[in-house]
C-alpha cells in the first residue's frame, strides 16, 4: 500500500471474506479495499467466485466467515456455524465472533448500488418506471400519504430526477418504451441509470460490457468514466473485457478459486505470471 492510498478514505473493505456452499469454497479469504473515488476491477477466470463476492457484499448471501465494512461500519460479519462448522475448509474460523447480517435493501440504503451480470431490469415496466422505482428507497412519505397522493412535490421531484438521469444516460427519448424491448446495450445503460437513482456512493458493476461489441465497449468505458465524475462515485466492477478493465481501472484484484492471486495497476497485472497462468493455463 503506498502513501497516497493511505491518506484516502476507504469505502469498502472485506476482511478474510469466505463464502462456502456445502463443500465448495467459492470465495476464499478475500481481503480487499476500495478507496474513495477509485475504479477497482475484480477479474478472474470463469467460476473464480467474483459474482459470489459481489453477492456477499450486497447482502444477497451471508458470508461463511469474515467481515465486510462499508465506510468503516460493519455491514456483514459471520463465522462458520452449525453444520458449516464441520464442513468449513478455511482458516480464522473464530476470528469473527459477531453475526451481523444486513439485508440487500438495507445495504442499498447505505449508498451502495449494483447492476447484475444477467441484466435484471423490471422487464414489463417502462424505461421511465424502472428508474422511478429506484427512487423509492429514498421516499419520505408513508404509505397512506403516498396512496392519497399527498406527496405531490416529492413525486414530482422523483419524476424530474428520473428524466434527468435518463437524459444523462441518453435514454430520455425512450422513456415510455417497455424496458425489455430495448437493445442489449441500452438495457445495460438503463440498469446503470436505475442503480444511480438510488443515489449511491459506491457502485458495483457486474460485467457491464458482457455481450457488447468492441465499439459498444469503448462507449461504455467513456460512459463509466463520465458518471464516475458526475456523481462522485467509487466504482467496483467485475469485467472480462480486458480492454475495458485495463483502460479505466485504477487498481485490479485478480482472484482464482476464490483466492486473491494478484493485485495492482493494470500494467502490473498484465505482466503478472500468476494471472497469465490463471487465464491461459500453466505453460509447462
Amino acid at each position: 500500500m503506498n502513501k497516497q492510498e493511505a491518506n484516502r478514505k476507504i469505502v469498502l473493505q472485506t476482511e478474510d471474506l469466505t463464502m462456502q456452499f456445502g463443500g465448495v469454497v467459492a470465495v476464499d479469504h478475500l481481503t480487499a479495499s476500495v478507496y474513495e473515488g477509485e475504479i477497482v476491477a475484480l477479474i478472474g477466470p470463469n467460476g473464480a467466485g467474483k459474482t459470489t463476492a459481489f453477492n456477499v457484499i450486497t447482502g444477497v448471501y451471508t458470508p461463511t466467515n469474515g467481515r465486510v465494512r462499508l465506510f468503516g461500519d460493519v455491514i456483514a460479519e459471520n463465522k462458520p456455524r452449525g453444520k458449516m462448522k464441520e464442513l468449513y475448509k478455511g482458516e480464522d474460523a473464530d476470528a469473527y465472533s459477531n453475526r451481523i447480517v444486513l439485508k440487500p435493501h438495507q445495504i442499498t440504503k447505505l449508498r451502495v448500488a449494483r447492476t447484475f451480470q444477467n441484466i435484471r431490469l423490471f422487464k414489463a415496466l417502462s424505461v421511465f418506471e424502472n428508474v422511478l422505482i429506484a427512487h423509492h428507497t429514498n421516499l419520505k412519505a408513508g404509505v397512506l400519504r403516498a396512496a392519497f397522493h399527498l406527496n405531490g412535490h416529492e413525486e414530482k421531484m422523483m419524476a424530474e430526477r428520473s428524466m434527468e438521469l435518463l437524459r444523462i444516460v441518453g435514454l430520455d427519448h425512450l422513456a415510455d418504451e417497455i424496458s425489455n424491448n430495448l437493445p442489449y446495450g441500452m438495457q445495460r445503460r438503463l440498469e446503470i441509470a436505475r442503480a444511480l437513482a438510488t443515489e449511491p456512493k459506491l457502485l458495483l458493476l457486474d460485467e457491464p460490457a458482457a455481450g457488447m461489441n468492441p465499439q459498444e465497449t469503448l462507449d461504455l468505458m467513456d460512459f463509466i468514466g463520465e458518471i464516475k465524475d458526475q456523481f462522485k462515485l467509487t466504482i467496483f466492477m467485475i469485467e472480462h473485457h480486458m480492454n475495458l478493465v485495463m483502460g479505466i481501472s485504477d487498481r485490479i484484484y485478480v482472484i482464482d478459486f476464490g483466492k486473491q492471486i494478484a493485485v495492482g495497476t493494470p500494467a502490473e497485472i498484465q505482466n503478472n505470471e500468476a494471472v497469465i497462468n490463471a487465464y491461459l493455463g500453466v505453460a509447462e
Binding site: 444477497v60 440487500p104 435493501h105 438495507q106 442499498t108 449494483r114 423509492h136 404509505v143 403516498a146
Partner: protein, 387 residues
C-alpha cells in the same frame, strides 16, 4: 409515445361516465320490481369486483399468489354482520347460545349511531380486523415461495372458517349456525341497494388504483418483476409484501362485509375454497395485472354464472326434441372449460395487464376494422406483432 386524449378530455369523459352510471343506478333502483334479477346480479358483481381487484393487487401487482381470499372475506362478513344486526334481533339470531354480554352491551352503545354510519364503521372494522390478521399471518407466510404461499394462505382461510364455526366462539359468531337478520343496503328510504355497494366499490377500487399509482405501487410491481433486483434497489421485500398483503386483506374484508349485507344471512360454510376459486377465476379472465380487467371480469363472470348461462342448467325441448347435454350442472362445466381455455390458450385474459383507456375505448371500433387490411397484406406481420 402512446396515443391518448388530453388529460382534460379524459377527465370530462370520466365525469360524464360517472354521472351517467349514477343516474342509471338511481333509475334502476326505482324499477326494482321489474329489474330485480338485474339489480341482484349487479350487486353481486360489484361486490366481487372489490375482492377481485384486491386479489389482483396481490397476485397481479406484487406477484404474490395468495389463496386466502375466502378467509378474509369471512372475517369481514362476520365483523360487519355481528356489528350491524339490530339489537332487538340479537336474541332471535343467537337463539341457541345467546350473545356474549360484553358484545351485546357494546352493540347497545353503538345503536345510537345512525344506521349508515354504523354500517360504514362496521365495514371498516371488518377491514381492520382482517388487516390485523393479515399482518400476523404474513410474518410466517410471506417468507414462502409461490405455491407454498398459495397453499399456506389457503390453509389459513380454512383455519379462519373453522375458528368462526367453532363452538368455543358461539357467543360471538353464533358458531356454526351463522348469522341472519343482517340489514341490507338501505339508505332509509328504500334507496341504496345499488348506490351503496357501487359507492363503496368506487371508493375501495379508487383507493387501490391510487395506491398502485403511487411510489409504493411501483415498488410492488418491482417485486413482481424481479424480487432480487427490487431488493437491490433498496425495496425491503418483506415490508412491501406485508404492506400489499395487509392492504389487500383490508379491502377483501370490506367486500366480504358487503357480501354479508347482500346475502342477509351468512354462515362459515359460505366462505369455502370455492369462493376463492371464483375470485381467482375473475382475476384470470379479466387479466392478471389489470384493475379494469378485474372489474369487467367480475361483472362478466357474475352475469354469466348467475344469469345468462342459467339456460344451460334447464333441460330444453324444441319441437319435441330434447336438446342434449342441457341439464343441471352443465353451466358450471361450460364455465370451467372456458376457464381452462383461457388459462391454456389465452393466458393474458381479456385485458392482459393493460388498463381501460378512453382513447382505446372510443377508437376501438375504427381500429378494429382498420387493422384487418395490413394483416392480410403482409401476413407475416400479425404473427410477429403478437409476440
Amino acid at each position: 409515445m402512446k396515443k391518448d386524449f388530453s388529460k382534460a378530455t379524459r377527465l370530462i369523459l370520466s365525469l360524464m361516465a360517472m354521472v351517467g352510471i349514477f343516474f342509471l343506478l338511481f333509475w334502476l333502483e326505482g324499477q326494482k320490481s321489474q329489474y330485480g334479477m338485474l339489480i341482484s346480479v349487479m350487486q353481486k358483481g360489484v361486490i366481487l369486483s372489490i375482492a377481485a381487484v384486491s386479489m389482483n393487487l396481490l397476485t397481479g401487482f406484487t406477484g404474490l399468489f395468495s389463496l386466502g381470499q375466502a378467509g378474509f372475506m369471512a372475517i369481514g362478513a362476520y365483523v360487519t354482520g355481528i356489528l350491524t344486526i339490530p339489537v332487538d334481533r340479537v336474541d332471535s339470531v343467537y337463539y341457541v347460545n345467546g350473545m356474549s354480554e360484553g358484545l351485546k352491551s357494546f352493540k347497545e352503545t353503538l345503536a345510537v349511531l345512525p344506521s349508515p354510519v354504523l354500517v360504514a364503521l362496521a365495514l371498516i372494522a371488518g377491514g381492520l380486523v382482517a388487516a390485523i390478521f393479515a399482518g400476523l399471518v404474513g410474518i410466517p407466510v410471506l417468507r414462502l415461495k409461490s405455491d407454498y404461499l398459495a397453499i399456506a394462505t389457503l390453509g389459513f382461510a380454512e383455519i379462519i372458517r373453522a375458528v368462526i364455526a367453532s363452538p368455543q366462539l358461539d357467543k360471538i359468531t353464533n358458531g356454526s349456525y351463522g348469522i341472519k337478520a343482517i340489514p341490507g343496503f338501505d339508505l332509509g328510504n328504500g334507496r341504496g341497494m345499488l348506490l351503496i355497494p357501487f359507492g363503496v366499490a368506487f371508493l375501495c377500487i379508487g383507493l387501490i388504483v391510487l395506491l398502485i399509482k403511487s411510489s409504493y405501487g411501483r415498488a410492488f410491481k418491482a417485486i413482481r418483476e424481479d424480487d432480487i433486483a427490487a431488493e437491490a434497489m433498496g425495496i425491503g421485500l418483506f415490508k412491501h409484501k406485508q404492506l400489499s398483503f395487509i392492504i389487500s386483506s383490508f379491502f377483501t374484508a370490506i367486500s366480504g362485509g358487503l357480501l354479508a349485507m347482500f346475502m342477509r344471512s351468512i354462515e362459515s360454510r359460505a366462505f369455502q375454497i370455492i369462493l376463492t376459486y371464483d375470485i381467482l377465476l375473475i382475476v384470470v379472465i379479466g387479466g392478471i395485472g389489470s384493475i379494469t380487467g378485474s372489474v369487467v371480469g367480475a361483472f362478466l363472470v357474475t352475469f354469466a354464472k348467475e344469469w345468462w348461462l342459467r339456460f344451460f342448467d334447464t333441460p330444453l325441448t324444441i319441437n319435441g326434441v330434447q336438446i342434449p347435454l342441457l341439464r343441471q350442472g352443465f353451466r358450471m362445466v361450460v364455465f370451467s372449460v372456458l376457464l381452462m381455455a383461457i388459462v391454456l390458450f389465452y393466458r393474458k385474459g381479456l385485458l392482459g395487464n393493460t388498463e381501460f383507456s378512453w382513447y382505446g375505448f372510443l377508437t376501438w371500433p375504427s381500429r378494429f376494422f382498420k387493422r384487418k387490411k395490413p394483416v392480410s397484406a403482409t401476413p407475416g406481420e400479425g404473427g410477429a406483432g403478437d409476440e
